[in-house]
Symmetry: C2
Subunit: 238 residues, 2 copies
């Protein structure tokens, strides 16, 4: 009864959003193969023909629309004011990103692991759009106006590492704790930035500027003090 009343009351846009919400929740926790249009209709409390009226392309169209709405949510995770130490900004963005991954675990894995029946050049383009948005945000925070190829490549490889670590994390029953994963990914960023600074002057300038904003009790200070005992035995290299 309540469903029928809701059906009458919603505008076209509201109805579409409601169907997308229901689809996204289902696609978040199951592989696309395991979600049917009947499931979506049931979750939204509507009939299957109504789902088809809004999404005449059926499951494929619904999946792609749900993916685009997930992409918008994800891109909002990366928005962060350009103030304070870089590692604080990265940590906050990673907290939001990893909460999204946690919330959409099965769908995230299915989407990124490939070989899915709903994967097309359009879904690939949506995922690439998310990666590009993430890379642009990071370059914006590194305050490099026209980043060269090496720095862009470094940022893109780190983003891939974050994706890979997220997939492994889901696969291993969400171990270690999300805060430990976040801290390790921040450490990886600092390590990659520093290693790339060794051979790329632009990255070196960005690394110097970023390190100047860090504090001794922040992630870089802690990392530096923990790394020194490991590398100090290798004085023969200097």
């Amino acid at each position: 009864m309540t469903t029928v009343r809701a059906y009458r009351r919603l505008s076209v846009e509201e109805r579409r959003a409601q169907l997308l919400d229901a689809a996204l929740s289902l696609f978040a926790h199951r592989a696309p193969e395991e979600v049917s249009l009947d499931d979506v209709a049931e979750a939204a409390g509507v009939s299957r023909p109504l789902v088809y009226r809004y999404f005449p392309g059926g499951k494929q169209q619904l999946y792609e629309a749900a993916l685009r709405s997930a992409a918008e949510l994800l891109e909002q995770c990366f928005a962060e004011p350009q103030a304070g130490p870089l590692t604080q900004r990265l940590s906050r963005a990673l907290d939001r990103y990893l909460a999204f991954v946690d919330e959409h675990d099965a769908g995230f894995s299915a989407l990124l692991q490939g070989g899915s029946v709903v994967e097309t050049s359009r879904t690939t383009a949506t995922v690439d759009g998310i990666r590009r948005a993430a890379a642009q945000q990071i370059l914006y925070h590194l305050a490099v106006p026209a980043p060269g190829p090496r720095l862009r490549m470094m940022v893109r490889t780190w983003i891939t590492a974050v994706e890979a670590a997220s997939l492994i994390w889901i696969d291993e029953g969400k171990q270690p704790e999300v805060s430990a994963l976040r801290d390790w990914l921040v450490d990886q960023f600092i390590a990659l930035l520093t290693a790339t600074a060794a051979t790329d002057p632009e990255t070196a300038a960005a690394a110097r500027a970023a390190l100047a904003l860090e504090s001794a009790d922040g992630p870089v200070g802690v990392l530096a003090r923990r790394v020194i005992p490991v590398v100090s035995e290798a004085a023969h290299l200097l």
Copy 2:
């Protein structure tokens, strides 16, 4: 005429290998969508029905078989004697891997970028098998008998970074030079190993053992001397 004689002379196994070679060469330089069975027949100098006799599943079966033979070639790239500094072993394996990527550029990109019509759970499993083989080789060279989750995660994220960097490298017209890409990927490995050593005792032990084998004029010595000027300005962190 020569084709007909060759056709009569080859054994079933030889013919199959010849068709696979022809298919792999085609799939290496074009997206799977752009390769037809006629192309394979023409490249091998045989008729289309003959290709179907060996691969009744058509292009999909041929693609999967070519991918498996490529996977065997790739896994051989990782084989490396367990002697000398770790960075030397990594460099040699990367040289072979990057030569393979260079040789199979379009096919490599199409396979890893997803959304291809020939991508299935079987092709995904083949690619995952290559990643697993690469990870096992690296852990073998790190000489850790029963590696824990953090070290395994670090190795797997580095492998993903190598894949991502290879794709970007192809995409950017194979810039920088392959030796610069290789050296940078080795630097990344050292950076990730060291950063992970900060929070994982097992990785710290592996890093100490690896650094002890490095020399001052090797990659780690060069990296260390280049990184010091960048980080020395950040003495406030210690």
